[in-house]
Amino acid sequence: MGSIVVDVMLKPEILDPQGQAVGGALPRLGFDGFTDVRQGKRFVLTVDGDVTDEHLTAAREAAETLLSNPVIEDVVSVRVLDGSEEGAEDGAEDGADGKGESEDGEQ
């Protein structure tokens, strides 16, 4: 069973009131070092068996048609979720520890 990750972000020039609200709450918890927060969406599309090129092509198409609105959003990435990352994400669900690791290597 494989999975494809689709990341969608609001275009940089579009106002992100949700990100602003989160950004406004951070200093209240003592996180003073962040100058801006932008909030996006992550979709995990799961398939039977391994992810094929056809799956990826379909995922890209779905990302452009339904998962994002090209007027206000960019599809940042469409990629196969690899096994080690999956493990890391499971770990993150059990406790907060693995979290930073699973997010490494993004961008």
Partner: protein, 231 residues
């Protein structure tokens, strides 16, 4: 004069829209999101509410409902369509109207009596108004900020396709951060109109801030009766 009102899962104002149609002398026809059938209506209203819980993006999932498979080509062919609030969001997601609606810049849900200027009184839904006329109807939304790129905004303004503009407050602000104070727009042909405020809540004495909403429904009814008489 039969005006269809579409009900999606999560539509709220479908009954009010149907009532407004009847109050203004038309026949309201209930259309169901799951039917790819417009029942031969003369015009369609996409009502306000929270179709599919506003999940993903407002209007994004409703856009792919079976009824939209029938509505989109019909609208492109000239069928008059009015999208109110969530209905406007569905129209932008369907690309029947340009731009998009995003969360209000102040992040609060609005519920106010809102003054608007009618800028285009030649669309299918605004012909009973005068250009420049000011009307007051209800505005109630959390994601009513109209956005589009500069080129699209210039095009809309240049072609007279901004149908309604918000009257701004003392500080020059509109109620949701909409670019260029745009409250409603139309397509090139003038048959598809979308706006965030709610005309269907201003059609009966004793309810709502005015009777200004009646003009939307009388416009379409008058036009359809006239075109039927000339046919």
């Amino acid at each position: 004069m039969r005006i269809g009102v579409v009900t999606f899962p999560g539509s709220l104002d479908d009954r009010d829209a149907a009532r407004a149609v009847r109050e203004c002398g038309g026949e309201a026809v209930a259309l169901w999101h799951g039917d790819a059938d417009l029942k031969g209506v003369d015009a369609v209203i996409l009502p306000g509410g929270f179709s599919y819980g506003d999940y993903l993006r407002c209007g994004a999932i409703a856009r792919f409902a079976p009824v939209m498979d029938a509505l989109v080509p019909a609208a492109k062919g000239g069928l008059p369509v009015l999208g109110i609030c969530n209905g406007f969001q569905v129209l932008t997601e369907s690309h029947l109207l340009p731009g998009a609606l995003i969360r209000n810049d102040h992040r609060k849900f609005n519920c106010v009596d809102q003054r608007l200027v009618v800028e285009n009184a030649s669309t299918a839904w605004t012909s009973d108004f005068e250009a420049g006329q000011e009307i007051t109807i209800v505005l109630k939304n959390g994601e009513g900020g109209y956005v589009a790129d500069e080129r699209t905004l210039d095009e809309l303004e240049g072609e007279g396709r901004v149908v309604f503009r918000y009257v701004t407050d003392a500080e020059g602000r509109n109620p949701n951060g909409s670019y260029r104070d745009i409250a409603g727009i139309t397509n090139e042909r003038g048959n598809v109109v979308g706006l965030m405020p709610h005309p269907e809540h201003a059609v009966e004495a004793g309810y709502g801030p005015s009777l200004d909403g009646r003009g939307f429904f009388t416009s379409i009814i008058t036009q359809t009766l006239e075109s039927a008489a000339n046919a």
